[in-house]
Symmetry: C3
Subunit: 319 residues, 3 copies
């Protein structure tokens, strides 16, 4: 594969600058790009590499147009890069869809058209899988789970395992039967080695378009709205209800049985213990509004100063 | 399946109130329950749904008996619900026990009677598995592991992997052989995608009746007592010793080689760095007694106030 | 297997004291060791067991030589113990190397000599695996991954899954193709149930000799240097660059696109949000230099005292 800068600009429908005939035959990160490769600047942290990169062309925002010779100008360089990288990296990812002969699908499960089910994945009793669903290898779907159209489930993930429900009786834990379902709505992507537990009574639900990173744990009876994003290693305790369009950083913990509104943002490593209203951004353990959190952090930095001034006042007072 | 309220009350041996002939043919969560379904209130957070639920009957504590028409009165509504939900949800969970033909069991391993071993699970050399053990699919049990009667191990979990033990020698890490065993005592349940490492020398032990949620990591030579509960994503570092009847919230970290007593409670997201005595409740990073933790939190909320008062005093002092 | 204390001393090339003819036929932890077993003290926390252990001999540092009758003296008792424990525990671990008949290896993948690939592991398209690599059961390696000589990969781990990359467009997340590779350099060990995502454009790299514990998540385009150690449940966000000889405690989170120098130490449960320079030790959420962190912790303990003294000053001021 080989294209000129002009051809790439024209393919993307974007303005280009510099040597329009320069040949591109690969894509790469800016710090590692070589001659005849194209790269991009999505995050301004990488701007410093413009002076040293060996790339032949760079996709940048308008504000950087005087910083490099051969450019494509885009409002969203990462999205532009995503569009062309498929042209150059044709041997990556899943090349065709198939139900692998070593996937085990219970005879009562229903798998719709154009799905991929990887080797050694196990699909349980009365599971329903929609169209265009991709399930990678070594995934376990317990019985009575619904996965709607266009979902992607990465390797090692477990869906429908028993929720962590016990009563404590006569000095022992006694298991509460976990009898609900898991429903994964359409267009959801779930990372590798995640766990999504079934409801105890009633269902665990992941809303349409929501994206879940690796190692995320979603407990029984959690209801997640549409188009949320959960970064890696987050955990949502049982019965929590989360609105739509929320964004969660990595390693977030959400308490059980709380309600999180729509368009809420939760910083990485936050522990949310109480309800959060629509549109709020929270941080800290326990979570507080981000402005309060930042003020508290600033104050913590001043603590030694407060302390020594205090001692000084006391000393003067004693004189 | 269909029962009257009177029949359900009589099956549970509990008092009922209202229309004794009302027909119930399903169970559900209160916020989603429909006509002819029965639901329950285990957590008072859900009391507000009593006014709007479409359920035909609700299991409640005595104190709520005037809040709804058709009731069953129970001291433990969740336990009562658990008892009847099996009647209505007969097609959930594991319907029979079998050693799946695609489970691989080493010829030197011993599996006792009435066990279930799921598809694509691998049971290693000289593993001993007791009676009535349920192992879900895609579980890996390394060699020389003992799993006693009535244990349940969810999908994707790994037991007996090497502990994280290295010496640093001549600018490189050198592996310390991990030669101990893992012993899981009877009545233990382990969630999905957990890791329980073997001892380096000596064994890793999980005590009788202990319950472990998803994504929990138990390192080499950890000794856990009887009837503990570990919520999701907790991690116990190497050599820690934990007593009986302890309860750990989600995302807890326990330092290596420390000793935690009996009946200790550890709040979610706590980092326990030192020994904890019997009966204590701790919280925070690093963990401190919960009362101290709450006092500190209250003080942190007052920090800006302290700071500005201090500035004020200094200003006045200068006049 | 049975050796005298003198024979063990001679095998290790170390000084021994006490009854040179005492018979040893096993190894164990000091708190559980029995007659005719040898044990060691690696961590001084275990010194207290010298008075009660039933072990027939103990490997200790010189400073403890008057605390027990039959001793082997070593500067590194744990390393000495590691050397002899293989003699006594010959039936532990992987006894031979084989490509298991139920491992699935894509015809385009290349597996070099003397490798072990466990049952139900899946090796994808155009994967390259070096010499002496051990892959345990139920591991998933996606396409286009390179694993160099002498690596060890524990059960349930996933390498090459898609990075968590989306653009938000017209009220939906749109997937950014994840087209890079994962390169695991030689002598790396990766624990159970880890996830290492492929680069989006460019590669995710784990440097030579680095050791990774269970449940660790390494996101797309992360570059990790040589001879680092990551304890359990740590997570490294996308694009972070980490130098050589760094040590990370458990449950650490590293922000995306930051740069961590060489020989950096990060305490357990730390959240690193900004670049960290060579040789620093950091702790806290967000991470600060360890000395500052300890000072802040000391100050936090004094907060109630500060508060009440402040109130006192105000009261006096009003008089």
């Amino acid at each position: 594969m080989s294209m000129t800068l002009a051809e790439i600009g024209s393919f993307l429908g974007l303005e280009y600058k510099g040597n329009s005939e320069i040949i591109i035959h690969g894509v790469n990160e800016i710090q590692n790009a070589q001659k005849n490769e194209i790269t991009f600047i999505g995050n301004n942290k990488y701007k410093k590499y413009l002076k040293v990169t060996k790339a032949s062309a760079v996709i940048v925002r308008k504000e950087l147009e005087d910083q490099f010779d051969n450019l494509i100008i885009s409002d969203d360089p990462q999205a532009a890069m995503a569009k062309i990288s498929n042209l150059f990296l044709t041997n990556r990812g899943l090349l065709k869809r198939e139900i692998h002969s070593k996937a085990i699908i219970d005879p009562t499960a229903k798998v719709n058209k154009n799905c991929n089910i990887g080797a050694y994945s196990v699909i349980g009793r009365e599971v329903e899988i929609g169209d265009n669903v991709i399930i990678y290898p070594n995934v376990t779907i317990y019985d009575n789970v619904e996965i709607k159209d266009n979902c992607i489930i990465h390797a090692g993930t477990v869906i429908g395992s028993d929720g962590f429900g016990f009563t404590f009786d006569k000095n022992k834990f006694k298991k509460i039967p976990q009898l609900g379902k898991v429903i994964i709505e359409k267009d959801v992507e779930i990372g590798a080695n995640c766990c999504i537990d079934r409801g105890s009574i009633g269902n665990t639900i992941v809303g349409e378009g929501t994206k879940i990173d690796n190692h995320v744990h979603i407990a029984h009876n959690v209801k997640i709205g549409k188009h949320c994003a959960f970064a890696g290693q987050s955990g949502i305790a049982g019965g929590a209800v989360i609105g739509g369009y929320c964004v969660f950083g990595g390693k977030v913990a959400i308490n059980g049985h709380i309600h999180i509104g729509n368009q809420v943002k939760v910083a990485a490593m936050t522990g949310v213990t109480k309800d959060v209203k629509d549109g709020m951004t929270v941080s800290g353990i326990p979570a507080i509004p981000i402005k309060k959190y930042r003020k508290r952090e600033a104050m913590l930095r001043k603590l030694p100063d407060i302390y020594y001034k205090m001692k000084d006042i006391i000393k003067k007072g004693k004189k």
